[in-house]
């Protein structure tokens, strides 16, 4: 949904063609090294928006032009406004690493300490990558992207702190019972001999 709405934002002021939209999205989102989006994704999204009436395909400005231009419709503008004014809901409580740790509790071949170590290495590598990128930017012209990278750095720092927390309490966690699945009775009650 994010890609779709960002494309709408890019079309709000001027018509654009597919390749241009992909390049514009990438530049806006922080560069290819931070957000890679394939041509297929762009065109699929454009087609869906066409079908939903959020954008329209323009007539070619001249017969020699092979580029298909798209422009936003009034419905598209409404959709864009709604998206801009809705708060942002990322979901930190759904965490893949947490699930890995929980799954590994019952597996004889999984080593939670090693999982933590691997996760930590990955986080540091990403922190290194982002820090190096940030160091190459110019605050007088790239401030927006610097702020994006600052956000990444802060989140990575928090992730690393959380990892240290888990590591410190691993033994204690393992002593506690695993979460019990809630199984409610479903379907018809079993047939009773007396009660036909």
């Amino acid at each position: 949904m994010t890609v779709r709405h960002t494309l709408l934002g890019l079309l709000a002021n001027q018509p654009r063609y597919g390749y241009e939209l992909r390049a514009a999205f990438t530049a806006l989102a922080g560069g290819r090294e931070n957000w890679e989006v394939t041509p297929a994704q762009i065109y699929t999204t454009l087609n869906r928006m066409l079908r939903s009436g959020l954008i329209q395909a323009d007539d070619a400005p001249s017969s020699s032009s092979e580029r298909q231009f798209f422009s936003i419709t009034p419905q598209g503008i409404t959709e864009l406004k709604q998206w801009l004014e809705s708060g942002d809901h990322s979901n930190p409580v759904q965490d893949t690493f947490y699930l890995k740790m929980m799954v590994s509790r019952d597996l004889p071949f999984a080593d939670p300490a090693r999982l933590i170590s691997v996760q930590r290495s990955g986080l540091y590598r990403e922190l290194h990558r982002v820090t190096r990128q940030r160091g190459q930017l110019d605050p007088s012209s790239d401030l927006a992207r610097i702020l994006l990278l600052d956000k990444a750095i802060m989140h990575l720092e928090a992730d690393l702190r959380w990892l240290d927390m888990i590591e410190g309490r691993l033994a204690e966690i393992n002593r506690q019972p695993a979460p019990e699945p809630e199984l409610r009775p479903r379907g018809r009650p079993p047939r009773n001999m007396n009660n036909n």
Binding site: S117, R120, Y124, R125, L127, H128, T131, I153
Partner: protein
């Protein structure tokens, strides 16, 4: 090419029942021209490791080789000279002399090494300039910000043209912005001046500037990671590590 090599390095403080094993048979090789961070919880031995590599303390057993020379058994005089010529030190609390100016603090290692006043002045001006302190040379430490003081410390560490710079929590006493500046400066010592920098830090943001991060726990290395797998030398090492598992 290994500039620092540590073999079965052990340091025990105290004796008998109260003996504490700060380092437990550590093996480590550090190549020239890299920024390496050493991290770990309090008491893991990271500062001890730095002090032993810097010849500021002697191991209980094991060896420390600097450019192939075993410093762990060197006589005091020889060690002091080697330290002065080959190493620069940067500490958490700057360790500048309060009654001396930035210029005088920076010149100290050269004066102690018998370098002539005029020649020393040139080198001092060069390194203070590179650390953006040209307009602060006559300031005393209490007239400088934390970040500026640490930059004086960097200049001081560099005037004797060391091959290795050892930094113990260099940003521990600085705010975020100054910390980033100092980490950048340390990075520059590697990238622009080809030195080897070994820094102990507890701050992930600062460790992120390094090429390699070594994790210590209870006196042992528990993890050792190269940050940039795109570097062909790093890929080779990574491959060796994976094959060894």
């Amino acid at each position: 090419m290994a500039i620092i090599e540590v073999n079965q390095l052990t340091k025990v403080y105290g004796s008998g029942d109260t003996a504490v094993k700060a380092l437990d048979g550590v093996n480590l090789t550090i190549d020239a021209g890299k920024l390496v961070a050493v991290m770990g919880p309090s008491g893991c031995g990271k500062s001890t490791l730095l002090h032993l590599i810097g010849g500021l303390d002697r191991p209980t057993s094991g060896t420390v080789l600097i450019e192939g020379r075993d410093i762990s058994r060197m006589k005091d005089d020889e060690l002091t000279t080697l330290r002065r010529q080959k190493m620069g030190f940067i500490f958490q609390f700057f360790n500048l002399i309060p009654v001396l100016t930035a210029e005088e603090n920076t010149a100290l290692p050269l004066i102690l090494d018998g370098v002539k006043q005029q020649k020393a002045a040139g080198i001092v001006a060069e390194w203070l300039g590179k650390n953006k302190l040209a307009d602060r040379t006559h300031h005393r430490p209490d007239e400088l910000s934390g970040g500026q003081q640490q930059r004086v410390a960097i200049a001081r560490a560099m005037v004797s043209d060391p091959v290795i710079i050892l930094a113990d929590e260099p940003t521990g006493n600085l705010d975020t912005r100054s910390s980033d500046e100092i980490a950048s400066s340390l990075r520059q010592l590697v990238t622009d001046y080809g030195r080897t920098v070994l820094m102990v830090t507890h701050d992930p943001r600062i460790a992120a500037y390094a090429d390699r991060i070594i994790f210590l726990k209870d006196g042992r290395i528990v993890d050792d990671n190269l940050m940039d797998s795109e570097d062909p030398e790093n890929s080779r090492k990574l491959k060796e590590k994976v094959e060894a598992l």
